[in-house]
């Protein structure tokens, strides 16, 4: 089975940011994304889930260059103000052309 090496960008952020984040990553070149619900704790302490909404966990598989663009954008536009973290990992996908 031939697989293609790509980057998985995982973003954990305030649920209220979903629309904005999705619009931004699409603009930067992501061809798709997957979102799940999550809650957690970080520097800003535990979120009080229901009344404020929970976190989301957004994953998008992209090429290295798009991953770079997404991280740069997050670092400048989101990190200073919003409850958000992001990380990269390596994945191997079938049908690499679907994602780039």
């Amino acid at each position: 089975m031939r697989t293609f090496p790509l980057k998985l960008v995982t973003i954990i952020a305030d649920e209220a940011l979903e629309r904005k984040l999705v619009a931004d990553i699409k603009r930067l070149g992501a061809k798709g994304y997957t979102v799940g619900k999550a809650h957690g704790e970080g520097a800003k302490g535990e979120r009080i889930s229901e009344w404020e909404g929970e976190n989301l966990r957004l994953e998008t598989i992209v090429s290295e260059s798009v991953a770079e663009k997404i991280l740069t954008h997050l670092a400048s536009e989101y990190f200073p103000n919003y409850t958000i973290i992001a990380y990269l990992s390596d994945v191997a996908v079938l049908r690499g052309d679907k994602f780039v």
């Binding site: 889930s49 229901e50 009344w51 919003y82």
Partner: protein
């Protein structure tokens, strides 16, 4: 002040439910409502308020509405302005935090509104049917004004566009459900209301108890933040509602509302938002800390209003209307 009234309010199942929720959190209980249940209860309350309000609106002459409506919008727009300056000057808050807190106190709380309806029903005091209309109308302007203040004063560019915020507020869950169901109640009239009343009217206070139990659970988790927010904000969260309620009562009487209507008007002014304002501030004023605005509105003002505020405002209203 009549302590009997406060005590009797304290013994209503709704307030006791709220206190049970707070107690459970303080005892570190694992009692938790599924998020979906909380969302469903909110949807239910907003629809129920809207439908009944719309139906009652269909019964009364519309001419009585203009004056209180206009006054409500006027005061609702001024509250964030003076709140903002008090918070900046006396409270020493920075711009985003002062604006976010001001947005909360200018906007209104559907939960406090519901508790007020239940309170009046329990006291067999009648009120104008169009009050849910005020609730719907009052949610938005204060938030816009507060965010506008923040933007004018803070040009760092990190805040979302005001236009965007306005669009989001006008199409927000609570506005859509309240305004939409007011319209439905109005259009569907008596025969429509009777079809849905067994679901949206009879169980209303029971559902409200469930909702306030959950509100208590959330408030309880906020209580530990009280020490972080400081005395000023706690005092603010008690003094401003009283001030706004008194103002509300006077204006309401002047606008020709009945005593029950004036009580609701006052409670609306006194209440601080817990749905629309936090949602808007999270996106439009991300630099503002939820620790301040949510703790003040949820852990101070909301419990104060439903436990002590309602009986106090009621006494004041009785006094005002009998003199």
């Amino acid at each position: 002040m009549d302590f009997q009234a406060i005590l009797s309010n304290l013994l209503s199942p709704m307030i006791l439910g709220f206190l049970l929720g707070v107690t459970a959190t303080l005892l570190k209980s694992d009692l938790k409502f599924p998020e979906e249940l909380y969302l469903s209860l909110t949807i239910y309350l907003l629809i129920a308020i809207g439908l009944k309000g719309g139906y009652k609106l269909s019964l009364v002459p519309f001419s009585a509405v203009y004056k209180p409506l206009g006054m409500a919008i006027l005061i609702g727009s001024l509250i964030p302005v003076w709140s903002f300056f008090i918070l900046r000057r006396l409270g020493k808050f920075d711009v985003p935090n002062a604006a976010a807190i001001a947005a909360h106190y200018g906007s209104v709380s559907a939960a406090t509104f519901s508790a007020t309806l239940a309170f009046l029903d329990e006291h067999e005091t009648s009120y104008e049917g169009f009050m849910p209309g005020l609730l719907a109308v009052l949610e938005v302007p204060a938030i816009l004004i507060a965010i506008f203040l923040a933007k004018s004063l803070d040009r760092s560019g990190k805040t979302g566009s005001l236009r965007e915020v306005m669009r989001e507020l006008l199409t927000s869950k609570s506005t859509i459900l309240l305004v939409g169901c007011l319209a439905i109640g109005l259009l569907a009239g008596k025969s429509g209301w009777e079809q849905v009343a067994p679901f949206f009217d009879a169980p209303f206070r029971g559902v409200l108890m469930l909702f306030l139990l959950e509100a208590g659970l959330v408030t309880g988790r906020r209580l530990s933040d009280l020490k972080r927010v400081g005395f000023f904000l706690i005092g603010f969260g008690i003094a401003m509602p009283i001030l706004h309620a008194v103002l509300g009562l006077i204006v309401a009487k002047w606008s020709g509302l009945s005593m029950g209507g004036a009580m609701i008007f006052a409670a609306l002014m006194a209440s601080a938002s817990y749905i629309a304002a936090p949602a808007a501030c999270r996106v439009a004023l991300p630099q503002a800390s939820p620790t301040y605005y949510l703790t003040a509105s949820l852990a101070v003002t909301f419990p104060f209003n439903i436990i002590f505020g309602l009986p106090i405002y009621y006494e004041l209203a009785e006094w005002l209307y009998n003199h």
